[in-house]
């Protein structure tokens, strides 16, 4: 089992003929993801790599192919509209990889997708992967291994680091989800924790947060109140200065709020195991799997 994507995921790629879109579409197809359609306005009727039909609009793609998931690789000025287009076309999950979407755009997009009952992952995220089954986004497939650990993170390469360490130690994953580094994102830690708690194959969860905002603190309360499965957490940015945006738009300590110390305190109060460094996940997870 897994969360959000599985063998029934039928993917439409928005921006399939772009530089990033075409590169990652090939990677996803090699991994076994069912890529059944692509969208590039003006290229409707053509085929990607001779096999995947391209459409002018997401609506056309969904109507013709029955795609239920969309992944977005379009440039930032067009990303907000691309998300709304996918949600309006009726897919159940929209994964937005694009980094640099203006946050005011997201204040309008978020209610739009919510009202349609659509799940949005990202923007500014690496996507997600269910090892051995399907990947949507850019997480490298070969660092993953099927197994019992659910992984959720605000970061890209830090997720790879932790997944790589787990895989190297023989500890596999049910699904690895990157929720993205922006201040407003479609799916938060709690959404993923809730899904992992319900997933029968997931036996423990590794969670990588970072400075900025209160998503981790709220997740800690959720863990304490609603979760039976063990959770291990890490916070990046313990050495980050206040008031500076640390690469991710959302990774900023505002005044005295959103610090690593505050988040780690919330983790400790909720009984979440604390990884002081990425490598610590291996032993902390191993012990909890029994």
């Amino acid at each position: 089992m897994s969360i959000f994507i599985d063998k029934n995921t039928k993917l439409v790629v928005q921006g399939i003929t772009g530089r990033d879109g075409s590169f990652h579409t090939k990677q996803m197809m090699e991994y076994g993801t069912q890529v059944i359609a692509g969208v590039t306005p003006g290229k409707g009727g053509q085929k990607f790599e001779g096999t995947v039909p391209i459409f002018n609009t997401v609506m056309d793609a969904v109507k013709a192919t029955g795609a239920n998931t969309s992944v977005i690789y379009v440039p930032p000025p067009f990303a907000a509209d691309a998300i709304m287009e996918a949600a309006a076309a009726g897919v159940a999950l929209v994964v937005c990889i694009t980094e640099g979407v203006p946050v005011l755009d997201m204040t309008k997009v978020y209610p739009f997708v919510k009202e349609r009952g659509v799940r949005l992952l990202g923007p500014n995220c690496p996507g997600l992967i269910t090892p051995g089954v399907s990947k949507v986004g850019i997480i490298p497939g070969r660092i993953c291994l099927p197994g019992p650990v659910g992984v959720v993170s605000r970061s890209g390469t830090l997720t790879y680091e932790v997944v790589y360490q787990l895989t190297r130690a023989g500890i596999g994953q049910t699904t690895c989800v990157g929720i993205g580094g922006d201040p407003i994102n479609g799916t938060n830690f709690i959404d993923c924790l809730e899904a992992f708690e319900k997933d029968p194959k997931t036996r423990a969860i590794a969670m990588m947060g970072e400075i900025g905002g209160t998503d981790e603190q709220e997740a800690a309360v959720f863990v304490k109140m609603h979760m039976k499965k063990p959770v291990v957490g890490f916070i990046a940015g313990q050495t980050a200065p206040p008031g500076r945006r640390m690469g991710h738009a959302g990774a900023i300590i505002s005044g005295s709020s959103g610090t690593a110390a505050e988040k780690l305190e919330a983790f400790a109060a909720a009984g979440i195991g604390i990884a002081k460094r990425p490598l610590d996940f291996v032993e902390l997870i191993r012990v909890r799997l029994g």
Binding site: P77, K108, P111, G156, L158, T214, T239, R245, G255, S256
Partner: protein
């Protein structure tokens, strides 16, 4: 991106907010001339991207043009939180009756623009929030409908008992909201919003922070960036499309990805070292980025060791290896370098590095430990 007070005021004036006249001076003589032109008492205010300007002595009331010249002499060139004051705003001093606060932020929890208003203006709103939270009213705005009149009036009456003032404050909120949305702000505030003894509403100070993701589509706003107010290394990094933040330590870090970059800095600290910087070379693989990153890092004389931590996903590690070789051939390193790379094209990268006399490991912890030890030098003491 932060705007200076005078820039924020100019924008708000354009939206019809009542703001006392003001001009920027870079010399005491200019400040004197501006004060003379207004022919009334003025404020001379340091224009730097730092809070607490008043407490630092960067804001002064001046009765005469001669006084303005004297105060400007003191303020220009002074340092506020490590930033040198290059400009002052000379603005007509308003008579102050009461002081209120009006601000908007993009709130992460509600995922909406949220207004904050308080009758306790003139001080930092964070301080009000910490000490007397009941004195702030928070009102989220659905950006699809904009600020409704009833919400604006509700906030107006929270600030003032009198209908005329409540209406006036509400009208200013509408203008502030319009400016906030059109300028791509993540924060916009008027603090204080003053009621003069004559009952007039005046915005005496303004602040705007722009979402960096907006700058590409708002070239006129992007042009307001004041590079003289930023660290030169950070300006250079931005031009090279790198995210760089200078810190005080001695281990220079070059990493791909923001989360991993922060985790690498944290690991340097974990093993007893101090990171010299945050530097994210980003996702795309491009040897040129590595060359630029090395140039920026090595320009910092505090750096005693350089640490590369690359997890190749989209980033091809052979591109990074080529970048390291190219950069160090052109400018031989004066400090030791420790390279950790793993992921896409790792074997090729290792081969390139070995052939050029570098060693590299695939283990993050080992690499960080080594870099920390090298930065401390053979005596084991911090330099």
């Amino acid at each position: 991106m932060n705007l200076h007070e005078y820039q924020a005021k100019e924008i708000l004036r354009g939206y019809g907010v009542n703001i006392p006249p003001g001009k920027v001076a870079t010399t005491p003589a200019e400040a004197e001339a501006i004060a003379k032109e207004y022919g009334t008492a003025v404020m001379v205010k340091a224009q730097v991207h730092a809070g607490g300007r008043g407490k630092a002595g960067g804001v002064k009331f001046c009765k005469t043009p001669a006084d303005a010249k004297e105060k400007a002499t003191a303020i220009l060139g002074m340092k506020i939180k490590d930033l040198t004051v290059e400009k002052v705003l000379v603005t007509v001093a308003a008579d102050i009756g009461t002081e209120a606060y009006e601000g908007i932020i993009v709130d992460r929890a509600t995922k909406k623009p949220v207004f904050m208003v308080s009758a306790a203006g003139g001080i930092d709103i964070e301080e009000v929030a910490a000490k007397t939270p009941e004195k702030i009213l928070y009102v989220p705005v659905d950006p699809r409908y904009g600020l409704t009149n009833y919400d604006a009036m509700r906030m107006g009456f929270f600030l003032y008992g009198e209908l005329k003032l409540a209406r006036g404050a509400a009208a200013i909120m509408g203008k502030l909201y319009a400016a906030f949305m059109a300028t791509g702000c993540s924060l916009a505030e008027i603090n204080p919003l003053v009621v003069t003894p004559q009952g007039e509403l005046v915005a005496v100070d303004g602040k705007m922070v722009i979402d960096d993701n907006e700058l590409d589509r708002l070239p006129a706003i992007a042009a307001l960036r004041d590079e003289s107010s930023e660290a030169p290394s950070e300006v250079e990094a931005r031009k090279a499309n790198l995210t760089f933040i200078k810190l005080d330590g001695d281990v220079g870090c070059i990493v791909n990805g923001a989360g991993l970059a922060m985790a690498t800095m944290d690991l340097v600290k974990y093993y007893g070292g101090e990171p010299a910087n945050f530097l994210d070379i980003g996702g795309s693989s491009n040897p040129e980025k590595v060359v630029n990153a090395l140039r920026i890092i090595t320009a910092d004389t505090n750096v005693k060791a350089i640490l590369f931590n690359i997890f190749g996903g989209i980033t091809r590690t052979d591109d990074v290896a080529n970048g390291i070789v190219t950069a160090t051939k052109a400018n031989p390193l004066k400090v030791p370098i420790v390279i950790r790379l793993t992921g896409t094209n790792e074997e090729l990268a290792m081969k390139i590095l070995t052939e050029n006399g570098f060693t590299a490991s695939s283990d993050m912890d080992e690499a960080v430990k080594q870099a920390v030890a090298l930065a401390k030098g053979p005596s084991g003491k911090a330099a």
